[in-house]
């Protein structure tokens, strides 16, 4: 079970995509001023996207892994209570509100 986790590179890539698009948005809001000049030292320093260190990304992977595992396990409990051996959408629906509150 330990080897089955998200790849840190993948999660990091998703983070970077979100951060860089938000940095672009910030630049837009700041006005045409920032758009006119090249990605020079001044603007890039101010609007540089957030980054993450390696361990933080690994820890995020663990958090996401727990999210998926909790979703499956809670749905499995409901399915078991109903006496079926296949997890269906209705089982997930039952556990979804509490799951989203817990994460």
């Amino acid at each position: 079970m330990e080897e089955n986790t998200f790849e840190p590179d993948l999660v990091h890539a998703i983070f970077k995509l979100v951060w860089s698009s938000r940095a672009l948005e910030r630049q837009m809001i700041e006005g045409t001023d920032a758009l006119d000049c090249e990605v020079g030292a001044g603007t890039s320093k101010k609007n540089r996207p957030t980054s993450a260190n390696g361990n933080a990304v690994k820890l995020s992977c663990e958090l996401l892994r727990n999210f998926v595992i909790e979703a499956v396990q809670r749905a499995a409990t409901i399915a078991e209570a109903e006496g079926v051996s296949k997890i269906e959408a209705t089982h997930l629906e039952r556990v979804l509100p509490q799951l989203l509150l817990d994460f």
């Binding site: 820890l59 995020s60 994460f103």
Partner: protein, 128 residues
Amino acid sequence: MEREEEDSVSELLRDRFRVSTISIAEAEAKRNDMEISGPVMTCIADLAFKFTEQLAKDLELFAQHAGRKTANMEDVILSAHRNEHLAALLRSFSNDLKAREPQSERKRKKSSKKEDQATTSVVHIPDS
């Protein structure tokens, strides 16, 4: 054009993310002696992807609030602070990570920083 490129990158990431989620979900269902239907796994994958995007926004805000440009493990733990069990679990995992490689951390930080800068310049060039 730039939008399209961004969308295709995000599609690709979403698909890769979906594959990993499905393998985790399937393994977990197997451990519970359960089968799991395809739509449920896709649903969980999409939920987890949205969760990741939200997590990215949270981490950015927490890091900014601390006056940093780099998100660290404390920010990740903070994002789970509403759930005590989850926060405790993450804290113990973070202690494991710290204990495992305290000396190589500096090296990795440097290389990841370089990588970041490379990607940001790639993202910014089409914009100007």
